[in-house]
Symmetry: C2
């Protein structure tokens, strides 16, 4: 058994646990284990206590977010191209990431507070860059634009979850709604 396979299995497990926790924040270790398709004993062997498990999942989500931001070229790629890649990349973990925001379980863990603040700042800088380049309107704070995008991606996740759109439509829908707005335009 190779090391990379171990890692892959472990990451798959973390992913499944994250999904289980996202779907039901207060799930017991028994429910999490069932949803992740492992025994409760294995869950404890791998992650330790429930608190450790949650911390591991949170840390993993923050790492995922970092990778998605990196991969989208958020810091240097042309703004509108990065925007599309950002939406496409972050949409799958939208619900899980929202759990980070909504859950106060780890409010007293400075590491996670800092990690989330860093993600927020990075997205805020992206919109500030877009404004400086004249792409985004300058009369709303980059912070609000960042929050707004996050909410749209979350909404798109639920739209797909509820069966009203396909996953492949998400980038188009979010782009149209966020970038262009919902107003009908005589000019097209």
């Amino acid at each position: 058994m190779e090391v990379s396979e171990i890692d892959e299995e472990r990451e798959d497990l973390v992913q499944r646990v994250a999904n289980a926790l996202s779907a039901n924040h207060g799930a017991s270790t028994g429910e999490i284990a069932a949803a992740a398709d492992v025994s409760r004993a294995t869950l404890h062997r791998v992650f330790g206590s429930r608190e450790d498990l949650v911390a591991t999942v949170y840390g993993w989500l923050l790492e995922q977010c970092d990778r998605i931001f990196d991969g989208s070229g958020i810091d240097q790629a042309p703004v509108l191209e990065a925007f599309d890649r950002l939406v496409e990349g972050s949409y799958p973990i939208a619900q899980s990431y929202w759990m980070l925001i909504a859950k106060p379980e780890l409010d007293n863990v400075p590491e996670f507070q800092q990690g989330m603040a860093d993600q927020d700042s990075r997205l805020e800088k992206f919109f500030a860059r877009g404004q400086a380049e004249g792409v985004f309107r300058p009369d709303m704070s980059p912070r609000w634009l960042a929050y707004s995008l996050g909410g749209q991606i979350m909404s798109a996740w639920y739209l797909v979850e509820d069966g009203y759109a396909g996953a492949l439509e998400v980038p188009r829908l979010v782009r149209a709604a966020v970038i262009e707005g919902v107003l009908a335009r005589p000019g097209g």
Copy 2:
């Protein structure tokens, strides 16, 4: 003690319990009681079991939503006027209402499923009406526009919660972001 005062106190209590549950979905009755500033005994006397308590809060939130929709003139008022009142009215309960969406606790209670489906449909109809009147762009489904607005209001709630905007700015911010979009326009 008059009846109306009893009702007011009860409703205040429900409000505080809703806030406590919104801030921490998995809160124990002890935590909820502490957050609502009553004893755990009173909580049980008033609401019954924990499950009954959650059901009461959920029902109350759905009623609130109905009242806000009614008050905004969602079904008949001029679209853009209703839009502003909708945002302004629903913003305070945004986080609480999101709890309804995110929590599967009452998935097996048809009453709540129906109530939420009704709210969704009502908001969807609003956007369909706006499209029919030529106010909203017709190339995105009303369902997506409804979800999108919900996400924006949620984002605005967090923006205020985190101290990056004042409550009074919310209608303007949401209106600008949703209606007009974030793109800079040569035409202003």
